[in-house]
Symmetry: C2
Subunit: 205 residues, 2 copies
């Protein structure tokens, strides 16, 4: 044999490379085979099919995500810090979000953070169904926010552009609002504001 035998890990490695460079759509079995200098059938032998390959890739990337360490003094601050850390993780692996969303596995990605959230919510004294509700609310909020962010960044040029939509008339004579809605969103700021508001209101009930 000229080249040392192909391994499943080698396949996953270069597949991850392709996805990281050009996104999940760019990962075709033929391109992957070419990259590895082998034939498609070898890849099928090692990973089954494309579905399994993407599954394995997701699993691999999720496992690589670091543990989330909450910071802050008050429980609310610590919960917000978990949310921020999770968002950061997801933003650092943009293609992971795409793969995982496409495959309906978004929740799977969230499990480690869910544990951290449970811990922090318990620290506020909340327990049982009420605590679970807070955890779920934050979970949905963060995941949803990241999905919307990814979507916006992928979006083509809006037509009509946002600026034109918010002229003085449609903005009900509020030029400040028109300006704010026409400007690009400060997503980090909006995220923190939203999560903080949600958490504070839920804990104060």
């Amino acid at each position: 044999m000229g080249r040392p035998a192909l391994t499943r890990d080698e396949v996953l490695e270069t597949a991850a490379g392709l996805v990281k460079q050009h996104g999940p759509d760019a990962l075709t079995m033929r391109k992957l085979a070419a990259e590895l200098g082998t034939a498609v059938t070898s890849i099928y032998w090692h990973v089954g099919n494309r579905e399994s390959l993407l599954d394995a890739l997701v699993e691999r990337t999720v496992a690589d995500l670091g543990v989330i360490r909450p910071t802050g003094r008050t429980p609310a601050q610590r919960i917000v810090s978990v949310a921020r850390a999770l968002r950061r993780q997801l933003r650092d692996h943009p293609h992971l979000v795409a793969m995982v969303h496409e495959r309906g596995l978004t929740e799977r990605m969230f499990l480690p953070a869910q544990r951290a959230l449970v811990h922090e919510v318990h620290a506020t004294g909340l327990r049982g169904a009420r605590a679970a509700e807070v955890v779920r609310a934050v979970q949905f909020q963060v995941v949803g926010f990241v999905l919307v962010e990814r979507n916006r960044e992928r979006a083509p040029v809006q037509q009509p552009a946002e600026e034109q939509l918010w002229d003085s008339e449609t903005a009900e004579d509020d030029p400040g609002l028109a300006r704010a809605l026409a400007a690009p969103v400060d997503q980090e700021r909006l995220f923190v504001t939203s999560v903080r508001a949600l958490v504070e209101a839920l804990l104060a009930r």
Copy 2:
């Protein structure tokens, strides 16, 4: 000519039918041509290509969405009602969400509701950048929530199942929480709770 000439509207109509029945992936140019009893090239003549076809479909469906009429006494209640109405609209057109997300046009879909939100936020006396922030926060919250919902409903069987994840140990001796997190989510309830909390906290600042 045997059959009366094909029209662009007729193409969009049956395309919408196919999407409504089996989702956007089931809409292939050949299937559409077969359904119309014509050849693929005619479809290309009328709509350009698949991208334009989906664009037109999105435009059409968005235009069909009804106007949102807020209800409730307090501004907060009315904002929540807008959010609920929007979520209802999106849930009534599940494939629209998929198409629109896939094409990065989620925001486009939200514009009518954004107008309604601006109006209600103004009614609270808030103006300018602060008002814009509330509008955007609610917007992100609703769209994100719907995306997460769609994702969960599409999700395959989780492994390991959620029930097993939340045994007494991992739930930190909180059987009530374990039970709540193992149970299926009451999405409507969670949605209303979350939006209400977010809105109340943002308006109270």
